[in-house]
Symmetry: C2
Subunit: 290 residues, 2 copies
């Protein structure tokens, strides 16, 4: 009862019955669970049928029948894929959207009631983020995104908030307007976001300059995702992006108030160099040749 494995297993049991309860309430809409899951997958933007099949782990015959039953109910329509007529894509009809919305309401309501029952909501959410990140760590996707996208802006605002907490002298939030966004778009640079499911949990920017090198900026990993080696993965992905852009020299600056960062750079082929800019915040400078 006290050892780590028992604690994990207690968690499993608690969560199994909660998950079962949600499934059960899905049945309330008079449709088998399999069909409901397919409808929801399509509603969440998985239009490609093969993708849905993969995601839900269904046999192609079973998948086909579930699609047919949803079609007969008038909830979805299927079309041939525009570039490959073997593949099919599904989309919700008007009625399907209504039905999908009803499932969404069920899911949202149960999530809300879980939060409402609990007076420590923020602690509970933090715990959930941590666990979700740990469970899906094999499925963390690094995606190049626009630095002005919602996902990127979320990461950046979290990043600046954390700098504010970590730096003794605080941090000037006006800097977070991000004048560098232009330099972090292809072909000058790149911006990579780490997504766990739908939640952004880390980012890194590659900022092109006119001085013969590119800078790595704004490396951030959500607290709930630390200890998973995500920082390293993000760095590797940016270096790869830099190579495809023909960049051969990288620089970055950081602050000694962020010791994890310095440690990461030192162990992955970066070498410390003298100050190369006049930013007030950084006090450590690194360089790496690709």
């Amino acid at each position: 009862m006290l050892d780590p494995v028992s604690r994990v297993r207690r968690f499993n049991r608690a969560v199994t019955s909660a998950v079962g309860a949600l499934d059960h309430s899905f049945l309330g809409r008079g449709r088998p669970l399999g069909a409901a899951r397919v409808l929801n997958a399509i509603g969440h933007g998985r239009s490609d049928i093969g993708e849905v099949r993969d995601y839900l782990g269904l046999d192609s015959g079973l998948m086909s029948r579930l699609l047919r039953s949803l079609e007969e109910e008038g909830l979805i329509e299927t079309h041939a894929h525009e570039n490959d007529a073997r593949r099919r894509v599904a989309s919700l009809t008007r009625a399907g959207q209504r039905e999908f919305a009803a499932y969404e309401r069920i899911s949202n309501t149960q999530a809300e009631s879980l939060l409402a029952r609990n007076s420590q909501a923020e602690a509970l959410l933090a715990a959930m983020d941590l666990i979700a990140s740990a469970l899906t760590r094999d499925r963390i996707a690094l995606t190049e995104m626009d630095p002005r996208s919602d996902e990127a802006r979320y990461c950046l605002s979290e990043y600046y908030a954390e700098l504010g907490r970590r730096f003794k002298q605080g941090f000037d939030v006006s800097l977070s307007r991000d004048p560098d966004a232009e330099d972090m778009r292809r072909p000058r640079g790149s911006f990579i976001v780490a997504m766990s499911d739908t939640l952004p949990i880390g980012c890194v920017g590659l900022k092109g300059t006119d001085h013969g090198y590119a800078e790595i900026k704004r490396l951030w990993v959500a607290p709930s995702a630390r200890g998973l080696g995500l920082g390293k993965r993000l760095m590797e992905a940016t270096e790869e992006a830099a190579r495809t852009l023909g960049i051969t020299l990288l620089r970055l600056d950081t602050n000694s108030a962020l010791p994890e960062a310095g440690q990461l750079y030192r162990t992955t082929g970066w070498r410390e160099i003298p100050r190369f800019n006049d930013d007030p915040y950084p006090d450590l400078f690194f360089e790496k040749r690709l």
Copy 2:
């Protein structure tokens, strides 16, 4: 993607697939999930068939058939209940114990691999405890137990550890030998443990004295279970136990370094009284007449 409800739902998705993976690996032993679950429930000590049926939420007809199939496999035996021949109790045969052990290994292995993959194991476990307590809060059972039982001793050791952290002057652990255990057994007193599934998450002792009152001691609630009103439930349960023991006056002492405790007492009918003992640690004293 950033709002609380989305975070809960991301957690749900992550956990659903983890749970599904465990179910799937259970299937690897060539037995339908239903039968495997019954076998495991019996292995975990739920010998009474009605109890298993309740726990797993099965129809009695289905339950009956699953038992039959396990019997035919030679994994369990059933007997009439000793005090009530309508009821049946099941027990594992030698072969059933082996099979149960194999399922246990699967569960343990997946729990271990989850922990091993994660460098923040302690944070992960704390998060799991918190969530498990929140999800099973309706199923927290308060049980009278011997103050020397494993469960009680676990609670007490956590309690003393916390006192050590909270008190500026530290706390003398030698006191945790618990010389009062005798006075916390019926008919002199009582000791109540709050169990969430198999994990003790809180306790309270009622210590009989020869001075015309009984004392309430060692009220503790695990950090992962705070905010659920468990302290209040424990106090109510002890007061109820005191009534059944014919006790009419209760006293307790506490320390102002534990403000939640003082707050709880003041709002539940206790009144502050002058010091009534010479313990070095407490500096606040309360009394309540039943």
